[in-house]
Symmetry: C2
Subunit: 793 residues, 2 copies
């Protein structure tokens, strides 16, 4: 158990390292040479093309303007200055809404912290339970609920039995009113209870308001979006096999029959794994060719040579430039051959298609309805953005999907639960007393004050962090295997998995495992009756561990994020060895992205910790608030200057975020219930059990009220956009716009060169379409209502 | 604890009473005078108009054909003979599918019972644990799992701690393989485990097959249905208020704008509570008038007289026939006045409307999509059948609905949990030992053998039954308050509530409360550690109680159902006092209906008992099988001859039925887990915990594969029916067909007399509609696929 002093050491270390990161960043970012590392977003947007500074050659690389060093923290206000609408336009809605999560953290926890420090801390401080107990404790625990005395022992074992059966509510209420509600003991619990209620209501209020705002932002974003192919397109999967017709015929006939007024065109999906592979191979060859050409151009006197064998160690000696040039030529031919094969043969067509409609209304209808009797065939979903499609998963049939889901569930289950073993071992090692007991010969080294503080304050957090580094990739692989069709959905599912993992292993694992190894000896000699009590007591005692975790993972980690050490090094290496033209330099930039699948669960862990400890040990809250504030500024800066989102899901992840904060709230309420029952205040359970019930009701209300905005696309909105567009561009050739929107990236170049005849072909259509449209414009009864709505849009 | 002898007495009583009911029924049903009580369905169908027997006057009332008495059980094969397709046509799909629930019971439990008696019973019999224990037990318990010995005491408290934490799976598996898997103790548990797996797989197999069959039946039923107004109609609720437009204008404009090609007509819903009241009042007056007219016609010499005051005790003396005739006249005028008021004034229009479309396709689209940004406005649902609409609930706004749901949830919670007190008291009284301890002076009376057996075998079941009689009405009131819009949905929700109530109070209540009062003394002196063990042991011991419950509620109750004592008496009373014409006699019949809201939860309780006790105490199974067989025959007879379903939901309740059987399965698996852990076989938990997981996965699979058939209406089906109809009846005037379909029953008569001008008005339309349709028939590209599908339909 860490003392106040240990926490001080850990805080110092972490604050210093965070400060070092921030200073390094402040210094590096104003060097022109690093401009493309710290401001890639502006280059990608075309707003910055070359270093801003003109003048001497050296000043292109190093900043000599010393005044700018004095203003080394001015990126912080700069990051906060950009107003939100501009931010949405600049970085996309996903990023803007993602930043709001941090803001919610601040909105929830700052008032809670103020209230908790005003009320709960003084109450806990005045008790002296821990002094009289035999448990080891630190002075920081005096501020927590551990220091509140147990209830009197007048509770009979019959009452205890009742409190074990959740359903005996009426008996409990009876005993509660008979009980000691207004004694000094009762007074303390009344305060904790009232606080729990207040915190819940405040959190729910903030959540509801945010859900409302984000839903409105999403709808506004969608309504003001430009014409996008995904607005008109639906992805159809599990097209049933037919012996007489090809997939493309089948799709065409099906939609001509069942959506006769709205169907426009479709594109079948081909299995393009082979050409993809060849393209990758060609890219690698091209890299080598570039390398050798550069080498030759720098040193024209020496003609480069290489061997064709393994790793260039043996085999025939050849001129690498000629060798790779010829290789690339053959590959090019092979690729175009494979492409033609895939495009022509019906074997490589998979039973899925992107079906486009004449209107957004038609697409909205098709995406929201069931097509056939068998709900596992002709599955229709909104098509993701073209750049968001995860092509490999489009061909998976329904039954296979269900089985894959089961397999992944089992695999995930084992991953989650067997991961506990190494963490448990590390955590028990990181406990000084544990090490001293296990390896007594290390005692003299460990007892040195600095080392001891270091081990206790730093090690547990950092070992956990290392364990978690490889996890997101595994989880992403799992999601891919499970068969999601868009990258946004992959990210969302990975985030859910990562959150559950963190909840079980980091949160519960740290509480229970840590307890198990620390107090195993106690348990062995206790009756089963006392075990929940011990766990209950250990929750507030784990607060110190979580404080160090927050400092390492939250403070130093976030400060490290802004430094971008890895992209910095990689960029300079590439810049030095490979870059020849401006274009190359563009490619050497690695702006990265927010990384929803790892970032969001990390934030959620802080919500969980904050809500759980708000009543139990409120001295944890300031650490969390510092994290949220720092992270908000840092990530806002990164979104503005660095990150380049690869796709836009229009904040489709918000229901997940909301749901997880609600989960954290309910967990905190249940843990409080367990904790108070260890204080033998089981009579208050009926009052505590209403809290999670109200919270669940609140969740259901929000789900009904706001979630549809994130899942469905209202017909009125679709009709409004359609009408508006028809009025603005009556002669629009939609077919040519949609025909090449959804082709596999491998075919993109080929299609583009071939797109002319296609557009010519479809040029014949406009004669037909506008007439139809005009006739619809003159539809009978153009009511006032429709008129007013049109002008609204 | 009842002994084998007690159960024998109870069985004898119940078999005798069941037999008495059946004999009485067999005798009464062949008396011509009861024909309308026992065969009302045939009269309602018009297949039987008068008593079948001709001849003497007396033989109209009493059956003198003595041969028919010899064949007194021949209704049973007769009930089974009608093939299912005929049954569907005769009694509707709801009834036919309802009967399949009993059939599932037989399909699941007959093979399980055979296997259990072949394997589990012999294994349990050979153990002698109970003989050595200090617990009171009966010889019937020797067949149950209670008689299996506890695991050796080698399980350390550390292991027990692990088994308390659900997440420590890996430690368990470790100890399991280290454990005593192949000792004699282990062998017995392996058998129980294998049986649990076998039973689960068999149940799931049966469930999946049934879901498949029922889904196919529903789809076939819907596809072959005649033209119904609900196929074209969508119910729109929560039309937002608009200061400038009335509701009817608003609805028309909204749908003309957002569904321009499909909207046909709509009907607003009026609040007709006041005329409804007046109509009821008029009916009552009419009854009195009939009564006095009958009195006068039987005794023309004496002119009847009455007083106008309270209960006819004082006031002016008048001629009642004149009095009521004039009263009815004024009421008639008042009613038509009120009707006009409601129909003309815009104040009585509530913000809901039935919107009809030109095609089923249009209605299917509108019902399945979201209309506006705000998901709480313009809510669209499939319109229920006109006779299925629950008119009072159409006007409730969304927020009010959410709050009502919360209120009902809380009310239901209290109802469910506080209902336990009286049951607990009765159950503890029904325990002989309990009574003797509490009231020792009653001992000599109770100790009389017959009384003792009666109390033990009969009383617990019957008291419970009485408690439950008033419950369904309360639950139905709750559902009505909650705001469901169709009577089918009201019934389904009530059924769910009733099931949960039975689960908590009858099932858990009987296990835990009974235990609590019996063994309170034990608990007071036990540590918390031993409490779950005691509960675990009491589950199999409660088997005898449930056997008596099954016999009272299941056997005698079902046999009583076929006797129809209440309708019999009421019919003869009415027949004697009121009936004058054939028409009156028709009205005096009370065919009743299946009563899904009480019947289905009752069956589900038997599924629960059967699945829970299948592994634990299989000697319960034969009792359940007898119930299912008897109930199947009885209810099949009733459906064929008696019941008259008031609405048809096309088996929309099946997902509920399926879900509840799955719930029962999971509960049984969890209880087995708890029970085995009391036998200190906690190491087998990892193997047992996979069972509920697999079951949940199976449920999700079924939900995805079959549930949409019960919730959504596939567009292909709609299009097929539309195309077929258009080909068959190209000149159909749909508007006149739909215009008066959804009017409040109070306005029905008026509308029907006024419908002529309306249909005339809409007669102008057909000139337009067919042209449009013909143009659609000549749509370009009438593919082969569409052709083949059309011919399929």
């Amino acid at each position: 158990m860490a003392t106040l002093g240990d926490i001080g050491v850990a805080a110092t270390i972490n604050i210093l390292s965070a400060f070092a990161f921030l200073s390094a960043f402040a210094f590096l970012r104003i060097q022109p040479i690093n401009d493309r590392v710290y401001f890639p977003k502006w280059y990608l947007k075309g707003l910055r093309s070359r270093s801003l500074h003109t003048g001497a050659f050296v000043s292109k690389f190093v900043n000599f303007d010393f005044r700018s060093y004095l203003r080394f923290l001015n990126w912080m206000p700069a990051a906060l200055q950009m107003p939100e609408p501009e931010l949405i336009e600049h970085g996309g809605l996903d990023s803007a809404v993602y930043l709001r999560i941090y803001l919610i953290g601040l909105k929830i926890f700052i008032p809670i912290a103020c209230l908790a420090f005003a009320v709960i801390v003084p109450v806990n401080w005045t008790n002296k339970t821990l002094e009289h107990s035999k448990l080891k404790y630190s002075n920081i625990d005096l501020l927590s609920i551990s220091n509140v005395p147990l209830g009197s022992n007048r509770m009979s074992s019959f009452q205890r039995f009742c409190s074990n059966l959740g359903s005996w509510a009426f008996l409990r209420i009876f005993f509660f009113f008979r009980g000691r509600a207004f004694t000094s003991f009762g007074f303390i619990f009344w305060i904790h209870l009232v606080m729990a209620y207040t915190f819940t209501f405040w959190t729910c209020y903030v959540l509801k308001r945010e859900y409302e705002i984000v839903a409105a932002m999403r709808l506004h974003f969608l309504a003001s979006e430009h014409r996008q192919p995904d607005q008109f397109t639906v992805l159809v999967r599990n097209v049933p096999p037919d012996p007489d017709e090809s997939v493309t015929q089948l799709v065409e006939h099906f939609f001509l029959v069942n959506h006769p007024d709205h169907y426009l065109t479709h594109q079948v999906v081909s299995n393009a794994n082979k050409p993809s592979e060849l393209v990758n191979k060609k890219k690698k060859m091209q890299n080598w060719l570039d390398f050798y050409q550069l080498k030759y151009s720098r040193n024209p006197s020496q003609k480069p040579s290489m061997k064709t064998g393994f790793l260039g160690l043996w085999g025939e000696t050849v001129d690498p430039i000629d060798f790779y040039t010829s290789k690339i030529e053959t590959l090019k031919k092979e690729i175009s051959l494979e492409r033609d094969k895939v495009m022509c043969s019906s074997k490589s067509v998979i039973p899925a298609a992107f079906v486009s409609f004449k209107t957004r209304w038609g697409a909205a209808v098709c995406a929201q309805t069931q097509q056939t009797r068998n709900p596992t065939l002709w599955l229709t979903d909104w098509a993701p953005e073209p750049r968001d499609v995860y092509w490999d998963n489009l061909a998976i049939p329904f039954v296979s999907l269900t089985i894959r889901r089961l397999i992944i569930f089992v695999a995930y289950f084992f991953l989650t639960f067997f991961f506990m073993i190494p963490i448990a071992i590390v955590q028990s090692l990181a406990n000084i007393e544990g090490i001293e007991k296990a390896l007594p010969f290390l005692k003299p080294i460990i007892e040195v004050k600095v080392i001891k503080s270091f081990i206790q304050g730093f090690l547990p957090g950092i070992t956990l962090k290392i364990f978690l580094i490889f996890l997101p990739d595994i989880l992403m692989l799992m999601s891919k295997f499970e068969g999601f069709i868009s990258r946004a959905a992959l990210g969302r599912r990975s985030a859910t998995r990562y959150y559950i993992f963190q909840f079980i292993n980091v949160f519960l694992g740290s509480i229970i495992t840590g307890t198990a190894f620390q107090q195993l000896d106690n348990f062995m000699h206790q009756s089963a009756n006392d075990i929940p009590k011990t766990i209950g007591i250990s929750i507030p005692m784990k607060a110190t561990f979580f404080i160090t975790y927050i400092m390492v993972d939250g403070w130093a980690g976030v400060a490290g994020e802004i430094l971008r050490l890895k992209p910095l090094i990689v960029y300079h290496l590439k810049n030095f060895f490979l870059v020849k033209t401006e274009n190359d330099r563009e490619e050497a930039m690695d702006p990265g992205a927010i990384g929803f699948n790892t970032g969001e669960p990390q934030i959620q862990l802080y919500f969980l910790l904050g809500l759980v400890y708000a009543v139990v040990a409120p001295f944890l809250l300031p650490f969390i608030i510092v994290f949220f504030a720092l992270a908000f500024v840092v990530y806002r800066h990164q979104v503005i200057n660095v990150y380049n989102q690869e796709y836009e899901s229009a904040a489709a992840f918000w229901p997940d975020v909301h749901g997880r904060i609600i989960t954290a709230l309910i967990v905190s309420q249940l843990l409080l219930m367990g904790l108070l029952s260890t204080k033998e205040a089981a009579q208050s359970t009926p009052l505590l059990i209403t809290l999670p019930m109200l919270t669940i009701w609140f969740h259901r209300f929000c789900k009904g009220r706001y979630e549809p905005a994130f899942v469905r696309y209202p017909l009125q909105e679709a009709m409004m956009k359609d009408t508006l567009e028809r009025a603005r561009e009556p002669n629009l050739n939609l077919k040519s716009f949609l025909q090449i929107a959804y082709i596999h990236p491998v075919f993109k170049e080929v299609e583009e060169s071939e797109s002319d005849p296609a557009s010519e072909e479809s040029d014949q259509e406009p004669v037909l379409i506008p007439t139809k449209r005009q006739s619809r414009m003159n539809t009978p009864l153009p009511s006032k209502h429709s008129g007013s709505m049109t002008s609204l849009g």
